[in-house]
Amino acid sequence: MRHFINDIEISPKNVNEIGVISDFTIKDNPELLSLNVDSVTLVREGYDVVKQHIANIGIFEGIPYRVEMEPGISLEYFVDLTDAGCVFKTHECEVKIKRRLANDSFFENANATSFELMLKKGVNFPTFNVPYVVIKDNQLEVGISLSLSIFGITREIIQVAKEIQESIAEIVQASTLNAGVLPSVDTGDIIALYIKLAARVVYFAALYLAILDLATQLFTLIFPPIRNLKACKLKDLLTIGCNYLGYEFESTTLDALPNYTVLPVPLIRDRESIFDVTPNALIQPFNKGVPSSSDTVSTLGALMNATTTLINGETRVIDGLVKTERWDYYQNSTGNQITPALNLQAERDDSFSYNVDDIWKRYYIHYNLDLGDFHTMDVMYNYHDAEYSTEATSFVNADLVSIKGLNDVNPAFALGRRKNTYTYIEAVAKSFFGLIDNITGIFGNGTNFESQIDKRIGVLMIGQSFFTQTKLLWTVGGKQTADFTDYISAKSLWNNFHYINQIQLRDAIIKSDARVMLTNAEFVTLLNNNYAEINGLICEILRIEFIDETHFAQITYKTPDNYATGRVQTLIIND
């Protein structure tokens, strides 16, 4: 290995001890190519570069550091001067070096980068409107008011209409010629009846207009206008966030799920109180469309973690490329082949252990419930969680069955309810307003309430103007599709992503610290895909420690086994 700091070749004091370790066991953030030593000791020209950098640029920017394994194979690092482990002496310094454009530096930045910061720096996100209606849980009260109003209105209008008909009949009667020698009409009666009819028609007209006004107000109350909030597709948020930090983002898993949408909470500063604006002012979205400090995924790092939790994935950052995939993605695409030796060389023996850390008794996937949106606890409650249990298929002594552990999966989102049908009150009111439309069609000044009601199907339903948990939706054109729960419910997360965690599907044995001969190129290839064929089986490499001076690496790997097959089964507690 040759070491370069700012492209100047140096020889660290502890150069012969330096090797690299990659640990893939931390699924959501594997530690790749960290040095096997705590620090690098720089002397002479190496220390001079560090001192010069601190004097000219300061400690807040790292110093490029490169480890060249062989011509054409380099590993990029940087000296992190802000790490507390950096110690400066008179003639030497001990500094921490970290992988450049890799997991550590990416997540350190991502965890501290909010979407509001990106907005402030002029980053544009492709946000779009998500139409929603507020359906409160006061349907009974509304129902009572509605019934009373309908009863009062119809009773009065029926009465007046009948009276008008009577008046007309009376006029017809009075206008009929009286029988006699000289047929005649009762002039006085006709005038009186006309006046009576005019009075009733005027009263009817006044009542009619009042009813129309009341119906309009009632309509707004029962069917508040469709409002909009801004949202953004999950992949767009991740891609643009990574680009902002100087990384590319890729995910074939998310490519196949393009409709995942993040709806941030509608909580922003300097907005007019909802009591001070007209209801129509809320039709236009007032939120920013990207997560804010009040969201459950307030930073890029938090959103990245929520995504890996959601898709049972892992995120790897290699040479500026952030890649988030379901964790078994690499297993299916490896071409690596290695041949490890026995792992107990001194005893000429092989040892192994079972992958017991992967066993769980209870697997619980659950979205957040939002007290600000009771719909997450109403119908959506059925979709918000899924629970599974690993059970022994048979046993001799029940008390000796030892299957333990909780796997708690909590994507930091709440679900959103789609308006699939009319509520009971809406169905009643729909008929009422349909009749109002008919009646106004007869007398003129016609209304079209009913057609406005039909437009509400498919939009998002929330319980009040504000909610507190960031929502994950499955939208096409801003609305959730009728089958959205097939993609987004806790059950669908299990069926699409998490079922692979059942121990009977991933039972394996672990062999630790087996020696294997590797070239530098093979070592670098294994970093990109830590699966390799060993003795005809695709095995997962959990840890590699590589010291290139000897071209030997020590690996810990997992080889498939079938110790759990047929011994346990998964019981669905609810889904």
Binding site: A161, A205, I442
Partner: protein, 75 residues
Amino acid sequence: MKNLEQLNAIGKDLTKSLKQLEQLQRRFLADLPNDLQEKVQPIQKDIESTLKAMRKGDTNKINELTKRYANSDSK
């Protein structure tokens, strides 16, 4: 809902009655003595303008007519 359906039916009947009244006027109003015609015609015009105002949603006109015919309905 039954009331609403009844209201809908009555609305249709009422329309028929109003048309009947219109036909009646054509038949009899022309035959009425001049003095009677002079007295009935303004009232007839008020009825027509009431229905017109109702169609247009002209609340001011309805208010004006309401004042004119206040207490005229001796039910």
